[in-house]
């Protein structure tokens, strides 16, 4: 009988409806699928087209995933103040927090006690300066996640982005991935947490 089972790694991408939270979650999940992981992706959004807190959760593991939801996360990727305030308590100790500080003005102080793996930079604003539009900021974010966690391969990320964005903007998005990868040189691998670790004496 199997007595040690690992819990799937979990990522929550949260922001305000219209920022592309679900699109980003979908692209992340698709990339992980191409990497032959077991992936489930769920989302939450309001009835309105824009506005209100929206989020997308991606769980992935080496084994099939039974329960498709997570209550705490190995990584939070947050794009606005309101979702940051709502979800910050769901970050696991030593989890990775990425904040787009274009709209986030204050990261709560207690986060410092929870984790040191915090990356805060005005990603949307940097995209506007570099590409003239904030729409590539999610792809920049995926490039950044690839760089710091190494959770998926760059080839599969490029494959997914090529499938998900229109051909007209292909070049810009490829540059956005490279731009995202250049943003940080930190390495925060997402650690596998053991769900059960009881020793069997049978």
């Amino acid at each position: 009988m199997k007595t040690v089972e690992s819990k799937p790694l979990s990522v929550r991408i949260g922001g305000i409806g219209g920022q592309g939270n679900i699109k980003m979650g979908l692209m992340l999940a698709k990339t992980l699928t191409y990497d032959r992981k077991w992936v489930v992706q769920t989302q939450h959004y309001g009835a309105q087209v824009r506005g209100g807190v929206a989020y997308s959760d991606v769980l992935f593991a080496q084994d099939p995933i039974d329960f498709p939801k997570a209550y705490t996360f190995n990584m939070l990727y947050i794009m606005d103040q309101k979702p940051l305030d709502s979800f910050i308590n769901l970050l696991k100790p030593n989890g990775v927090l990425i904040c787009d500080t274009t709209t986030i003005k204050k990261i709560p102080n207690f986060v410092k006690r929870l984790t040191r793996k915090v990356i805060a930079m005005p990603i949307s604003q940097m995209c506007v300066e570099k590409f003239g539009t904030p729409v590539v900021s999610n792809v920049v974010g995926l490039g950044l996640i690839h760089k710091i966690t190494g959770a998926f391969t760059i080839e599969n990320l490029q494959k997914t982005v090529a499938e998900e964005v229109s051909k007209k903007y292909y070049d810009m998005n490829m540059r956005a991935i490279q731009f995202g990868m250049a943003l940080s040189d930190k390495e925060y691998s997402l650690k596998d947490e053991k769900l059960f670790s009881k020793v069997s004496f049978e």
Binding site: M1, K2, T3, E5, L26, A29, K30, L32, T33, Y34, R36, K37, W38, V39, V40, Q41, T42, Q43, H44, Y45, G46, A47, D66, F67, P68, K69, Y71, L195, F196, K198
Partner: protein, 385 residues
């Protein structure tokens, strides 16, 4: 369209549409409703590519009637909706049952009653799937628990609809419909796909679509030379309305027997670690995924728990479940309603075993930890039982 053997990320709703197209469905009529809209979207995109027809109707009543018409015309058809739309479809489901028209109705359940919670999960339509329309009528209801199973089970739904000439209710829930999962697309064996009989009648022969034959199912023929009368009124074997008591009696009993005589062929369930189980968990749909994890967690702690998951919800797998409950010490039903299957199970509890319910109706899934806690409470109660 996804191809067999591919490793892809698809949602439950998309898998439902892809599976139906693989099963040979070439007509979809529907009206968008969260959380079933993606099924219609996928059909709208994919059906024209395979020569099928997609229609967005004015409402759910029209959608349900349209698929019955299309099916009688010889095309495998389905519609998809959620609770509020499913309520509107009930009259047509009764008509499909009475006229014995193969048809598939997908109901992606959301929180209810009424418009309820469009983006939240629920399993509140279990009884409606069985008794939603009036009168005693035959019905088959299936309920998958994963994206991969949705893809294959919808093919089975079409098979059962064609084989038994009944409306098949394909239940899903919001959590499953909107869940994207990585799957390796399984192959669809050709024997899972049933074709209508070609018109092989002689010139002077008349087709009797409602004849009582051995096994109680007269195969439906392709429209062509055969002409027959279709009516929701009580009818004789030719389909002609005839309200005499002997005709009514024969028809009502045949509709019932059609299902009752083929339970072994229809009923499908999954068992997980029940061989030596002392506590039996009963869960279905999305809830069974939490239950499965709870079983694995409990087993690590040495608690002998097993999971029984009905895949065919109606007809309910009574015989097998009765046997299992008589073997275990206690049973626990986990579901997202006020106890619709719990009451069904309690009727099978002939030996008076301890039977508990854990449920949630707040639009959230039951977590494995909650089920584990309920198992522990059950064990404490069992001590005093």
């Amino acid at each position: 369209m996804i191809k067999t053997g591919e490793y892809v990320l698809v949602s439950g709703d998309e898998a439902c549409a892809y599976g139906a197209i693989s099963a040979g469905c070439r007509f979809f009529a529907g009206y968008p409703i969260t959380p079933a809209t993606e099924i219609a979207e996928t059909f709208a995109q994919e059906l024209p590519r395979v020569g099928g027809t997609f229609i967005q109707m004015e409402d759910e009543l029209a959608s349900a009637c349209a698929i019955i018409g299309a099916s009688l015309a010889g095309v495998k058809s389905m519609t998809a909706t959620s609770g509020p739309g499913f309520s509107l479809m009930q009259e047509a489901i009764g008509y499909a049952a009475m006229t014995e028209t193969p048809s598939v109705f997908v109901n992606v359940m959301r929180g209810g009653p009424s418009t309820g919670m469009p983006t939240k999960v629920s399993q509140g339509d279990i009884m409606q799937a069985r008794w939603g329309t009036h009168g005693d009528h035959p019905v088959i209801a299936l309920y998958p628990n994963s994206v991969k199973e949705t893809y294959t089970l919808i093919v089975r739904a079409f098979f059962l609809a064609e084989r038994f000439r009944v409306p098949v209710i394909f239940l899903m829930d919001e959590s499953l419909g909107h869940l994207r999962e990585s799957i390796e697309v399984p192959p669809i064996p050709s024997e899972w796909i049933l074709q209508r009989l070609a018109d092989d009648l002689g010139d002077e022969e008349i087709y009797h679509p409602y004849e009582e034959v051995s096994g109680f199912i007269t195969p439906l023929r392709m429209m062509g030379k055969s002409r027959f009368h279709v009516s929701g009124l009580v009818h004789d074997e030719t389909g002609f309305p005839l309200g005499t008591s002997d005709v009514a009696d024969k028809l009502a009993k045949r509709l019932e027997k059609k299902i009752q005589f083929h339970l072994d062929e229809i009923i499908n369930y999954e068992e997980f670690m029940v061989e030596d189980a002392e506590i039996l968990l009963i869960a279905y749909g999305s809830t069974s995924r939490s239950a499965r994890q709870a079983v694995r967690m409990a087993r690590v702690d040495g608690i002998k728990v097993g999971l029984f998951r009905p895949i065919t919800i109606w007809p309910f797998p009574n015989a097998r479940l009765k046997k299992l409950i008589s073997k275990v010490d206690a049973a626990l039903v986990a579901e997202l309603n006020m106890g619709q299957i719990y009451k069904e199970v309690s009727q099978l509890n002939k030996k008076g075993k301890l039977l508990n319910l854990i449920n949630r109706v707040d639009g959230e899934l039951i977590s494995p930890d909650q089920i584990l806690q309920a198992i522990n409470e059950l064990r404490i109660q069992l001590d005093e039982y």
